[in-house]
């Protein structure tokens, strides 16, 4: 199914793309960010000619940023991006320009992707004029009409002079596709191309994309949060979580037997339109995707993972969060709150938690919770030390898992044997 051509059309190595978080007022004053969000944090991906490569993840996974990095709409802070064998990581806009006609985006929101002040005809013809691919205005217009006809906007003559706002959502997305394909690109990065469309239109746009791929010999990077669509469309997929690939391989293998707990959780969470297949026993991950400014140590999924164990990278703040979660049970809250004291007074640093008061009684409580395995975080508790009223809890450190080969795909999870990624080289930090 996958044409494993020797040279990939797109190759990303150790790519990291980050954005500054302005530190409020002071930051904007000095013009220096107080922190960086690593939206994409060390990703290796290869995309082969004429395949459909899926980037699947929830919001905050960095999938959109990764797509923009592939098209060099943003410049990565580290790593390399190669397009058709050429390193484009740090090319200037001028040097990129001739390449841009061969790689094009399709956006999630077709309404926002079209300039409201430009007619449909002008919008589709504009890339031709940018790249000098039309002899004159009339020629550009003729080519635009042909492409519009091809994407199902017909008769094109009735649409050329309309403004985007006169079109329905599906029609707008067709225009966006026509604009992307009019320069005959090799690679198309489609970011959630059907997510904002009504159900009844989705299938039609997907079909159009698949037809066009066959007709023009396109390569797609298909970005989506929808596992069902990805399964239907993609040849190979990569599952992203908080800026890292957690599992990647042929779509058929990944879907048949997911090897990362996150992939499993995603697949279990997808509601099946078959009422006979209800699954009341599934174990859903707890909580939500954490803030990417300060991602969890070790495996980034560990605070939510139903299968996490000692080496997954537990931190002091996980212990505090576990207590907070535990106290949603009023009985536990009544019994333990006074002993532990306000959680805001707890000192957390790295793998250590210091409770300012509580003494032996607290140490005993924490020991009991560890023995009971009240929360997965307790599996990593290496020491509970009392010092007068103060109690310090220390946790084992855990390495960030590296991608390892498991059953025809790559998985980054300690359940398949504890691994560690290479520490990032210092030179990458800007």
């Amino acid at each position: 199914m996958t044409p494993e051509a020797p040279a990939p059309i797109l190759r990303l190595r150790g790519v990291r793309t980050q954005f500054p978080v302005r530190g409020g007022f002071l930051g904007s004053l000095v013009g220096r960010p107080s922190a960086w969000v690593r939206a994409v944090d060390g990703v290796d991906v290869e995309v082969y000619r004429e395949e459909i490569f899926g980037l699947v993840g929830e919001s905050g996974s960095g999938k959109t940023t990764l797509g923009r990095t592939m098209l060099r709409l943003v410049e990565p802070a580290a790593g390399t991006v190669e397009f058709e064998g050429r390193d484009i990581t740090h090319l200037s806009e001028n040097d990129l320009r001739p390449l841009r006609r061969r790689m094009q985006p399709v956006f999630q929101d077709p309404h926002a992707a079209l300039n409201p002040a430009m007619t449909v005809g002008d919008a589709v013809a504009h890339p031709l004029r940018v790249h000098g691919l039309a002899s004159d205005r009339a020629d550009a217009r003729r080519q635009a009409a042909e492409m519009l006809e091809r994407v199902g906007i017909s008769p094109p003559g009735a649409f050329l002079d309309r403004y985007p706002e006169d079109l329905s959502g599906g029609q707008k997305q067709r225009v966006v596709i026509a604009r992307a394909l009019i320069t005959r690109p090799r690679l198309v990065v489609a970011d959630e191309p059907v997510a904002m469309l009504d159900m009844s239109v989705r299938a039609k746009i997907l079909e159009l994309l698949l037809d066009l791929k066959r007709e023009f010999g396109l390569t797609y990077v298909f970005i989506t949060h929808d596992l069902a669509t990805a399964k239907f469309v993609c040849d190979r997929i990569a599952i992203l979580y908080l800026g890292r690939v957690v599992e990647t391989g042929p779509a058929a293998d990944v879907y048949a037997a997911p090897q990362h707990p996150y992939t499993r959780a995603l697949l279990e969470a997808v509601p099946s339109p078959d009422p006979r297949r209800r699954n009341p026993d599934r174990r859903l991950p707890s909580g939500e995707v954490p803030d990417a400014v300060d991602p969890p140590a070790g495996c980034r999924f560990h605070p939510r993972c139903p299968e996490a164990f000692a080496p997954c990278g537990w931190e002091g703040r996980d212990l505090v969060a576990a207590l907070e979660e535990r106290w949603t049970d009023p009985a536990a809250f009544e019994a333990e709150c006074d002993l532990v004291g306000p959680l805001s007074a707890v000192e957390v640093s790295g793998q250590s938690v210091v409770f300012p008061r509580g003494g032996d009684a607290l140490a005993a409580l924490l020991g009991r919770l560890r023995d009971e395995g009240a929360h997965r975080v307790f599996s990593a508790v290496s020491a509970i030390a009392g010092d007068g009223p103060r109690v310090e809890v220390r946790l084992e450190t855990g390495p960030e898992p590296a991608l390892q080969t498991v059953e025809c795909r790559l998985v980054a999870c300690h359940l398949h044997g504890v691994t560690a990624v290479d520490p990032p080289t210092g030179a990458m930090v800007p």
Binding site: H111, G169, M199, E324
Partner: protein, 714 residues
């Protein structure tokens, strides 16, 4: 060649905006336009209008009262006041046009460059302009006029430049902020991705969208400039005599007032008042029309059904699910094939006027034990600019306690409106008729105050987007206390806190965070807070309108589990509005499929999913993309325009089995032997003209544009 046609579409667009603007706003704008126009004419033809020259004094009386010869009287210096104010108009326009032109020429390009390039240039310019903007504008103008007076002397150019100093920062700020916003738009990224040069991006993609904000500031600033000019004149730094300038004339007239000569100051002031009012009305009118933030849809026509519940409220209509294209959700007019239905009697149909979609043999609301919600013949009409639109057209539905009913359909089918109609919060201009009975109490006939109390107490609504549904200035706990005390005034703060803690704990919100503000919670937590808030009073029915659409799939599953547990354990009825059939299959007991304002099929989840009867349900189920999908399928065509729905069955134009009978007669919901109900002529009981019989099509339509099939009765 294309220019002409483009211009026409642009005019059409303005016309449409104009039509959909509230009549009051239109009237105010026209008034402003007329006033401004009159002043402009007066300025242009001042020498013809004024009986005397602007500084003509020979032979005129001193401080003469208003009379037939001198309508507005004469001044201390023997000028004719009327002539002075007429020439003052001319001067005002000269200064205003010159000053705004200067301000625009400097402010707009600077704003564009600063906004697009960002970096240090932006930071420096912004600081400079902000400082100037914060400074009292009149003082700024005075300082400029004061400095200029030494070089240029006083006169129209000096006054205009002094005034323009004030407005440069304003144009700069507006254009810069707009540019900054436009720069982040996807279409600008698209332009970059196609390889367009920076110059092209700014010129063709950014500039044209930014300049649209200029006319609004222009009129607003023009009004302000006239006041500033007058103030400068009053302080002695405007355009001096003999030129006729209103503010200067008023300052000369202060002494007259003390002696009772009112006319020398009254009339110039009235002219300022008039022109500034005219310009402001015009500017506000343009803003009302152009600014989408303030637009309110579908108001004004207000067809009031006799005996109907009129809901008056200023909230936006649609809770647009994420998978709706935003434009479709924003404007009925924008999407030709959008949403909503009109209550047009089936023209030419035999037996037209039969209760459309009403369940056969179930006219009375189901009472008795176990029924949490009973809706009968609910009809919701919106007033749109093109006429009334019936979004929900005679829908009946029952939900038992502990039961979960999924309400499914594509966007615009009326499912959200139905949910809102049940709870009783419809947008402004919407009218509802029919009966809604919750827990044995008929809500639809309750007086407004009791109906209000029933919301929250008997029926709760959970919205789609949890991020904006909590008041940002209120602590989470206070939302609970407020809700509890609104319904049970006798409950003390302490008891209310305890109830809030219980409700939050049930939703697994850490109690340590009850006193936090909404913005300190994640999306999933906020939705759990919203659910807790809806359930704290123990309602009999909860309507959840796409409660998980804006959430990630895992959090969605968490929320659905919570809802499922709740309705089982607390014995309430759940109406789950969703476009996601998977959610219905996984969590609901029954479902109702809506199409174009009607329920077309209703029944238990098992039978409907395994043997869907209505061709629309069949098409809808086939078009779902799931993990098992092997072939893509879609329903041809698009839903009807509810302003002009097709006669007969509304799905018929897209239906592969559409028969001539389907065009003639609206099918009624007919009961099937497994308890489902279907509104389709393929099943017996749907055609009230032939009870007990069904229509059988001759063949199948391959092309929805092809001829309709003949059908035979069996």
């Amino acid at each position: 060649m294309s220019g002409g046609r483009s211009a026409r579409t642009r005019t059409d667009r303005l016309k449409r905006l104009w039509r959909t603007t509230h009549p009051t706003a239109r009237r105010l704008m026209v008034a402003g336009g007329v006033i401004t126009g009159l002043f402009l004419l007066m300025a242009v033809f001042a020498p013809l209008v004024a009986p005397y020259g602007e500084a003509q004094y020979r032979g005129l009386p001193q401080l003469g009262r208003p009379s037939a010869d001198h309508w507005f009287g004469t001044t201390n210096l023997r000028y004719d006041v009327f002539s002075r104010v007429v020439f003052g108009t001319r001067l005002a326009f000269q200064v205003v046009i010159l000053s705004t032109a200067v301000a625009m020429v400097i402010g707009v390009p600077l704003g564009l460059v600063a906004g697009y390039s960002g970096r240090w240039l932006d930071r420096v310019l912004l600081l400079l302009m902000d400082a100037m903007y914060a400074f009292p504008s009149l003082l700024l103008a005075i300082v400029a006029a004061f400095a200029l007076a030494r070089y240029v002397g006083q006169g129209v150019p000096a006054a205009a430049i002094s005034i323009s100093v004030i407005y440069v920062p304003q144009y700069f700020r507006v254009v810069r902020n707009h540019t900054l916003a436009v720069r982040e738009e996807t279409f600008v990224e698209a332009a970059r991705a196609m390889g367009a040069k920076r110059r092209t991006v700014v010129g063709r993609y950014v500039f044209f969208n930014v300049v649209q904000s200029v006319p609004v500031i222009f009129t607003v600033n023009a009004a302000d400039a006239i006041l500033t000019l007058a103030a400068l004149g009053f302080l002695g730094y405007g355009v001096p005599i003999p030129a006729a300038e209103w503010g200067y004339d008023i300052s000369r007239a202060i002494g007259d007032v003390a002696n009772g000569f009112w006319w020398t100051s009254f009339f110039p002031g009235m002219f300022i008042l008039g022109l500034v009012t005219g310009l402001t009305l015009l500017g506000e009118g343009i803003n009302d029309i152009v600014n989408p933030l303030l637009r309110r849809r579908g108001v004004g026509v207000g067809a009031v059904v006799p005996g109907a519940v009129v809901v008056e409220r200023a909230v936006t209509v649609t809770a647009a699910p994420v998978d709706e294209v935003s434009a479709d959700a924003e404007d009925f007019e924008a999407a030709p094939a959008a949403a909503v239905t009109v209550d047009a009697p089936a023209v030419g149909a035999v037996g037209a006027g039969a209760p459309v979609g009403a369940p056969v043999g179930a006219p009375a609301p189901a009472g008795g034990a176990g029924v949490a919600l009973s809706v009968r013949d609910l009809r919701v009409t919106y007033a749109s600019a093109r006429g009334p639109v019936v979004a929900v057209d005679g829908v009946s539905l029952d939900v038992r306690r502990g039961e979960s009913v999924g309400l499914v359909g594509v966007c615009g089918c009326g499912k959200s409106t139905l949910g809102r109609g049940i709870v009783g919060i419809l947008p402004g201009g919407a009218t509802a008729s029919g009966r809604v009975v919750v827990d044995g109490v008929e809500l639809s006939t309750l007086p407004a105050a009791e109906r209000r109390r029933a919301r929250g107490e008997k029926v709760a609504l959970i919205f789609q987007e949890p991020m904006t549904r909590l008041d940002p200035l209120q602590r989470v706990e206070d939302h609970f206390v407020e809700t509890i005390q609104a319904h049970r005034p006798k409950v003390s703060r302490r008891e209310a806190d305890a109830m809030a803690a219980t409700a939050l704990a049930a939703m697994r919100i850490p109690l340590t965070r009850a006193r936090n503000y909404p913005h300190e919670f994640s999306g999933g937590m906020r939705q759990r807070i919203m659910i807790a808030l809806g359930l704290v009073l123990g309602p009999a029915v909860v309507v959840a309108d796409e409660p998980t659409t804006s959430l990630d799939v895992i959090v969605e599953a968490q929320i659905l589990e919570i809802l499922d547990d709740l309705r089982r354990n607390s014995d309430m009825g759940l109406v789950l509005i969703t476009h996601n059939l998977g959610i219905v299959a996984q969590t609901c007991d029954r479902l109702a499929v809506m199409y174009a304002g009607h329920i077309v099929e209703e029944g238990s989840v098992g039978p409907v999913f395994s043997t869907p009867r209505h061709p629309y349900t069949q098409g809808l189920l086939a078009s779902v993309i799931s993990l098992d999908t092997e072939r893509l399928s879609s329903i041809p065509g698009s839903p009807p325009d509810l302003l002009d729905p097709p006669p007969g069955c509304r799905f018929a134009p897209r239906c592969p089995f559409a028969m001539v009978a389907c065009r003639e007669q609206v099918p009624a919901l007919a009961p099937m032997d497994d308890g489902s109900r279907v509104a389709c002529h393929l099943y017996p009981g749907a055609d009230p003209r032939h009870p007990g019989r069904r229509w059988v099509p001759v063949g199948r339509r391959d092309d929805i544009h092809g001829p309709w099939l003949e059908g035979t009765l069996q």
